[in-house]
């Protein structure tokens, strides 16, 4: 029983994103009972839920990297969209210049090269943050400002088109498999991350460094290396997200690819119950947070909110959510609840305790 209890308390940080997800689903169901309806087109599933999973792929992958960077470096990487744009530009150029038929092999090599590019970008940011002690947001500001121009120069022209069968399949569906490919890729990525977390000490190291870098060092962990490592991982995440995004789009739009996605990724991390100040982290929370954001976007569209006003609703939603999640509000709500319960239970005869509690309220 106590085991179970600790398990449950371990999951308590997921309460918020999960309940939001449930609320969004209810809203959608109220709007139309056919929300869960899945249609099969050309042997693949489509519908609200599959489309949501499809649309969130890049965000989910990026929010995983963002969670690690946040936990270790106590700051955020704001250049992830740009770094995805650069690495996918390299991927596109490799594929376009490979010549001949585009084979699976070409795509794979291109993908690996783009991952390498992602790692290089991660190393650039990571060096600044870990070895030069620059705050992450400032360090990544450099690429945020210059990254899209680099991507454009790699492209050499506006929006090179990635027209080949394999890319198309990666961006949509592979015949014979009912689930859209980006969803599968995301799932594979999540599994890989889960395996890495299970088979290495990444979590312990990252959390230790995020909470107390001095103590980490005195226990044989090199905080600089760990922070650097999280940026490398972030680079890989960006490359994978860029890969998916560019295959989805079928062309490389250096200006708009993954534009401003870092805002959503950071939001996903916060929604997942993670502190943006580093330390303990929950990747599950961030993943749910990412899906929640995508679902929110789609729900607003489904509710036929004026596209111009979508951001307003999103903002209001975030604010309400953060207020509900705020420790101050929670504590206050608990106090009020206790008081109400106390009054109901004890009646007017025991009003002394009620008084002293009342005094505490500010």
């Amino acid at each position: 029983m106590p085991r179970l209890k600790t398990r449950v308390s371990n999951l308590s940080h997921l309460f918020l994103p999960l309940s939001v997800l449930v609320i969004l689903i209810i809203v959608n169901l109220v709007k139309g009972a056919d929300y869960f309806k899945i249609t099969v087109v050309n042997g693949a599933f489509y519908g609200n839920i599959p489309n949501m999973l499809f649309g969130a792929s890049e965000l989910v992958i990026l929010s995983i990297g963002m969670t690690l960077v946040t936990a270790a470096s106590r700051g955020q990487d704001i250049s992830i969209g740009e770094s995805g744009a650069i690495s996918s530009a390299i991927f596109v150029q490799y594929v376009l210049r490979a010549g001949g038929d585009v084979t699976l092999w070409t795509i794979l090599v291109g993908f690996l090269i783009s991952c390498l590019a992602g790692i290089v970008i991660g190393a650039f940011n990571g060096t600044l943050v870990s070895f030069f002690n620059v705050q992450p947001m400032v360090a990544t500001l450099i690429l945020f400002l210059g990254g899209r121009s680099i991507a454009f120069i790699i492209d050499g022209k506006v929006s090179p088109i990635l027209a080949n069968e394999i890319s198309n399949r990666i961006g949509t569906v592979i015949p014979g498999i009912p689930i859209q490919t980006p969803i599968i890729l995301t799932a594979v990525f999540i599994v890989i991350v889960a395996v890495v977390l299970k088979t290495t000490n990444l979590r312990l190291y990252v959390e230790t460094v995020g909470i107390n870098p001095n103590a980490a060092r005195l226990n044989g962990i090199n905080p600089k290396k760990i922070i650097f490592l999280t940026f490398l991982i972030m680079g890989v995440c960006s490359a994978v997200a860029g890969f998916i995004a560019v295959n989805k789009a079928g062309r490389h739009d250096s200006v708009n690819l993954l534009k401003f996605i870092m805002m959503d990724a950071i939001l996903a991390v916060a929604l997942g119950g993670n502190s943006l100040g580093g330390g303990k982290f929950s990747i599950t929370g961030s993943i749910i947070g990412a899906y929640t954001i995508e679902m929110l976007n789609r729900t607003l569209l489904r509710l036929e909110v004026n596209p111009e006003a979508i951001k307003v609703f999103k903002a209001v939603f975030i604010i309400v959510l953060m207020i509900v999640a705020s420790p101050v509000v929670r504590e206050y709500a608990k106090k009020v609840l206790d008081k109400v319960q106390g009054l109901i239970a004890s009646g007017p005869s025991h009003h002394t305790s009620g008084l002293s509690q009342g005094e505490r309220g500010e």
Binding site: F132, Q135, A139, F144, L145, S149, L276, N306, K311, I318
Partner: protein, 358 residues
């Protein structure tokens, strides 16, 4: 007697001062380099004043953000709020229902509203500032696009007059090719910048609030123990930042004369970059307010330089990114050298021993 003198020599420059001096030196070097490389344009005083004329709004946004950054916070909504204000004021002026003063009031009102919201949520409900101001950014952007999608030129005569109004400096200027003396021109927005810089510098250096901001940015828990009202201080810093963003929106409109969706976009990032160049660190507690305008000037000089060099437009962003990189690395190396020296410099108990000797 205790040799007090030996300890007095220990007094060293604070990080704030050091970073500020570095920022100043870099700006002077940068501008000097520009003067030598492109004397044609940079030798003219007007080029210098134009930095202010065309970017008054950015200067103002940077100032407000600086206060929040010293307090250890961040506000990424400033650019969007600035943009929203330009559009809202433009619509008010165009609708014919309000004049300049009511537009100014509207600008202040919008800024204040955002500042109050951020401040309350961040200070009293202890929500992470990045997320709240991100929501504020979304809100402002959403409202902006909902208000009006197309650019909106303000044609109200009184406002056009204000927009075109310039102050000539009769004793300063250049003689053009035809030998006619052209005096330097300053836009009223520049005056707003100057007034705000002085006001904020005084606020941060001499007011109780300003010092509290430093204390809170340095160590929030200690500040609380010292009897500073931490929540109120944080709250006020965001209110000031929001209000400043509102003012910047009005100044922006005064400069360009049109409300536009793209107004003020990326100002938050530019402002952060400018503040960092001015020696104001994101960690809080460190920085001199005067660093904000100096950092902005450095940033703008870099941009001007790149433009003057005729760099291809796509490379411009990369080059300015690279310069920012160099700047950041330099700053961090200096700070690192300083910290490593501190270990060997500060020998307090060793000094105490001398005391027991005599």
């Amino acid at each position: 007697m205790r040799p007090l003198g030996t300890t007095k020599t220990q007094t060293r420059m604070s990080n704030s001062t050091l970073l500020f001096i570095i920022a100043g030196i870099i700006f002077v070097l940068m501008y000097g380099f520009a003067l030598i490389s492109y004397p044609g344009s940079f030798m003219q005083f007007q080029t210098f004043f134009d930095l202010f004329n065309f970017n008054a709004a950015l200067f103002i946004v940077t100032l407000g953000l600086c206060v929040v950054m010293i307090g250890g916070g961040i506000d990424i909504s400033v650019g969007a709020v600035c943009g929203l204000v330009t559009m809202a004021c433009a619509m008010l002026l165009e609708s014919g229902t309000g004049g300049i003063w009511s537009a100014l009031l509207l600008a202040l009102g919008i800024g204040l509203a955002f500042g109050l919201m951020h401040g309350f949520l961040i200070a009293y409900l202890e929500i992470q500032p990045f997320i709240i101001t991100l929501a504020g950014m979304f809100l402002a952007q959403g409202l902006l696009t909902t208000l009006h999608r197309e650019p909106l030129n303000v044609t109200q005569p009184a406002f056009v007059a204000l927009r075109n109004f310039t102050i000539e400096i009769p004793w300063l200027g250049t003689v053009n090719r035809r030998g006619i003396f052209i005096p330097c021109e300053i836009k009223p927005g520049v005056l707003v910048v100057v007034v705000l810089v002085i006001l904020y510098a005084v606020l941060m250096k001499w007011s109780r609030f300003g010092r509290s901001v430093y204390a809170v940015g340095g160590d929030r828990e200690s500040a609380r123990m010292l009897g500073i009202n931490v929540k109120k201080t944080i709250f006020l810093s965001y209110v000031i930042c929001g209000l400043t963003a509102g003012i910047s929106g009005f100044v922006f409109l005064m400069t360009t004369g049109a409300g536009n969706i793209g107004n003020g976009s990326l100002f938050e990032m530019k402002a952060i970059a400018a503040n960092v160049m001015g020696g104001i660190l994101l960690n809080g507690g460190v920085g001199n307010l005067l660093g904000a305008p100096i950092g902005t000037m450095t940033l703008l000089t870099i941009n001007e330089l790149i433009r003057a060099a005729g760099v291809q437009s796509n490379l411009q962003a990369i080059v300015s990114g690279l310069l920012l990189y160099l700047f950041i690395v330099l700053q961090s190396i200096i700070i690192a050298l300083r910290t490593s020296k501190r270990f060997t410099l500060a020998l307090p108990s060793w000094l105490k021993f001398q005391r027991t000797h005599d």
